[in-house]
């Protein structure tokens, strides 16, 4: 029995207890968000398959208006962005901020739960309305007008305790590296969401500018919400699992501030050459390319941190997902730059390559980082270990192949569509020929969404078993791979 409280051993035990208490305080809202998010993701991927099939074969499953491409595609994207994306992001933000700040969630747990329930009910009605034909036809904001104040309120219910935790935290050196991204996401999402919704729903007669604002909104949500949450999670989990400190505090700082400054300027280049003042699209294009700098800074930092530690990704599920996500961050930056710059954008404008950007950033980068976070967080909240290595492996590989296929195929399709449209040889061709020519790519998209759909079925089942407390009762983590080379970390070190 220890009698002197200041021995290192006792300190460690007290620290363990404190972390366990923090986990317990956020357990209910975080698990609720993850579980519901996984359900929406499942739905979104199935809708993704259906929408892609309907684009090639409009008669598929009959000529019913409720399942036409024009309604399935927005339902698919909205389920992905609001059902899965924002919801899972809030869970990860709450947990990381609580852990990193060392603050328990003291009060308002029931408010958080109510907010999460309202979020899900609202999206259910919103997406049903889209399918019933009540869409607003504004990309990424297709759900009817009434949803946005409710969603905003629910988001703020979560943002407030996260910001408060940040404010009350003791801040050791390096505290900011992941938390400032999460803090930023708390402020940026409401800003973008309010601006876009007020402008598009409340201001009359915007004309062409409305389309520009919508494009700005989509890029804003990606660059200033999904990206910060993904990067914040990667910055938290990579050193936590590899045991390797982040390589450079200066790069981390520069990467954050350049993103903060540049993130909100891009988007309108979608309408380059269109009926918007030329300087608006010009600034969007310049920023779209300039964003390669924050993207490159973060990529470089992760590269320097993990140099020589890549073998750990073979055994730790969390690290494997986060590594892959972090790898796709620079890829999404390059796709954005290609879409944005005038030379390449002239061909890629209004083609499938814009879908490539949305999917590489929302699924390839953000979702993969969040999957990694979930594989780390859930065992700590549910008190049991992940059941099956095979389910995790399936989830990983089918997701990787699926999203890789979508991104590559959409980029190639975009280039072909754009080059054909710009080619004087084709100017007397009917537009339908271009649509028919891109069919093969849309078929591959359907196949890719089917792979992702399968991978998320694995994930959903696994997560439900964990949440129900049916996981493995063991003190050893579920690892993908038994260590057999000396460069890998000791067995118990990562999970």
């Amino acid at each position: 029995m220890q009698t002197t409280p200041s021995t290192p051993d006792t300190d460690l035990q007290a620290d363990n207890l404190r972390r366990a208490a923090i986990d317990k305080s956020v357990k209910v809202p975080v698990l609720f968000l993850f579980t519901n998010g996984a359900f929406w993701l499942m739905l979104s991927t199935i809708l993704g398959v259906l929408a892609a099939i309907k684009l090639v074969e409009p008669e598929f499953l009959g000529n019913c208006q409720y399942i036409s491409y024009g309604r399935l595609q927005p339902a698919h994207i909205n389920a992905l962005v609001y059902g899965w994306g924002v919801q899972a992001a809030l869970g990860v933000m709450l947990w990381i901020m609580a852990r990193r700040s060392g603050q328990e969630l003291k009060s308002g747990k029931s408010l958080l739960l109510v907010a999460a329930i309202f979020w899900n009910i609202t999206i259910t009605f919103g997406i049903l309305a889209v399918v019933m034909g009540k869409s607003t036809s504004i990309e990424w904001l297709e759900m009817p007008k009434f949803v946005w104040p409710i969603l905003l309120g629910c988001f703020l219910c979560y943002a407030w305790p996260i910001v408060r935790m940040f404010g009350r935290a003791f801040r050791p050196e390096g505290f900011m590296v992941s938390t400032w991204y999460i803090l930023g996401a708390c402020f940026w999402f409401p800003w973008i969401f309010i601006t876009a919704n007020v402008a598009l729903h409340c201001l009359p007669g915007l004309g062409a500018l409305g389309a520009g604002i919508d494009a700005w909104y989509i890029h804003g949500v990606i660059m200033l919400f999904f990206v910060p949450v993904g990067v914040g999670a990667a910055y938290y989990f990579i050193p936590k699992i590899t045991g390797q400190p982040i390589a450079s505090a200066q790069l981390a700082s520069a990467g954050f501030w350049t993103l903060a400054i540049l993130g909100g300027w891009t988007g309108m280049q979608k309408y380059m050459g269109g009926p918007l003042p030329a300087w608006m699209t010009s600034i969007g294009a310049a920023t779209g390319v300039l964003l390669l700098i924050p993207v490159g800074l973060v990529g470089l930092n992760h590269h320097l941190t993990t140099l020589g530690k890549h073998s750990a990704a073979a055994s730790s599920p969390t690290l494997r997902f986060v590594f892959f996500g972090a790898l796709f961050y620079p890829v999404s930056g390059v796709v954005l730059a290609l879409n944005s710059a005038f030379w390449t954008g002239a061909s890629l404008q209004f083609t499938q390559s814009w879908y490539a950007f949305q999917m590489v950033s929302v699924y390839g980068f953000f979702s993969m980082c969040v999957f990694g976070a979930i594989y780390y967080i859930v065992p700590r909240l549910s008190g049991c270990e992940w059941l099956s290595v095979r389910l995790i492996r399936n989830h990983f590989w089918f997701s990787v192949y699926g999203v890789g296929t979508i991104v590559i195929m959409s980029l190639v399709a975009g280039w072909q569509q754009g080059a054909d449209l710009n080619d004087p040889e084709h100017w007397d061709q009917t537009f339908m020929n271009h649509v028919v020519n891109s069919r093969a790519y849309v078929v591959s998209r359907a196949v890719a969404w089917a792979l992702i759909s399968f991978s998320n079925l694995m994930f959903l089942i696994h997560l439900l078993l964990m949440v129900l407390g049916l996981g493995r009762r063991s003190s050893a983590p579920t690892l993908l791979h038994h260590d057999h080379d000396e460069t890998a970390l000791p067995n118990g070190a990562h999970a």
Binding site: A14, R19, P172, A278, L290, I293, F342
Partner: protein, 244 residues
């Protein structure tokens, strides 16, 4: 904190092992940034900066064409700001017709010279540069029997098949315009509307003979000739809408 500073063994037993095996949060290091990364970021900034400049349209709210400063707001697509040249219907028809001629070239030869005794020539042929109505009818419905071209007699077994019927009006019009303006031929272009007009009027299922075609020898299908030899629309009038 709800955790006590002096944990007893019961607390520790209850603690989930996942929490116990965690690593401590680490402070970041200060490794130097590689030089090549700096150069790369400069390169990104230069490429990004080049999206500004000319393309901003002078920061005016009234300019939406990003090419205003460079070429005065013309059409920037491939083909240049003189998009009128690329869009000239006659030039376009000649270009398209050249590839469409592959169907004809098998018999009439690539140089339009034909083969003596079998396939009549197109170059210098009065059948080609004469009335447009007769030419359209031949390609649309085919031709059979003996025929005299440039004073020579020809008689192909089976005659010429109705190749034009398988083409769209636009494609057929392009090929005919090409034939009428190649190898030294020069005649008015044939438009899609002219071909369509003949198609609507004549629905015969059999090939023509030389005698059948006599009435159409010098008849031209009425219709606007947008460009090329004998254009009915003045070039200035045609260019006017583009310049607006």
């Amino acid at each position: 904190m709800s955790a006590s500073a002096h944990p007893d063994s019961t607390d520790l037993d209850r603690l989930h092992s996942a929490v116990k095996r965690e690593k401590a949060d680490l402070a970041p290091e200060s490794q130097p940034t590689p030089m090549w990364a700096m150069f790369l970021f400069f390169l990104f900034a230069i490429i990004a900066g080049s999206q500004l400049g000319f393309y901003t349209g002078g920061w005016s709210f009234d300019v939406s064409n990003p090419f205003t400063v460079i070429n005065g707001g013309g059409d920037p697509r491939p083909g240049g700001s003189g998009a009128g040249a690329a869009l000239d219907p006659f030039a376009l028809a000649m270009k398209k017709g050249a590839s469409g001629y592959a169907v004809c070239g098998g018999c009439h030869q690539g140089n339009g010279g034909g083969l003596p005794g079998q396939f009549p020539p197109l170059a210098g042929s009065e059948w080609v540069s004469g009335g447009t109505e007769r030419l359209i009818r031949i390609t649309q419905h085919g031709l059979v029997g003996a025929i005299s071209v440039k004073g020579q007699g020809y008689n192909t077994p089976g005659g010429m098949q109705p190749f034009g019927a398988a083409m769209s009006s636009q494609d057929l019009a392009n090929v005919l315009t090409y034939v009428r303006n190649s190898w030294g031929n020069e005649a008015t272009m044939i438009t899609k509307e002219m071909v369509q007009k003949v198609r609507d009027e004549e629905k015969r299922a059999t090939q023509w003979t030389e005698a059948d075609l006599k009435p159409f020898a010098d008849k031209n299908v009425p219709g606007e000739i947008p460009a090329g030899p004998g254009a009915t629309a003045a070039p200035a009038a045609a260019a006017a809408p583009a310049a607006k």
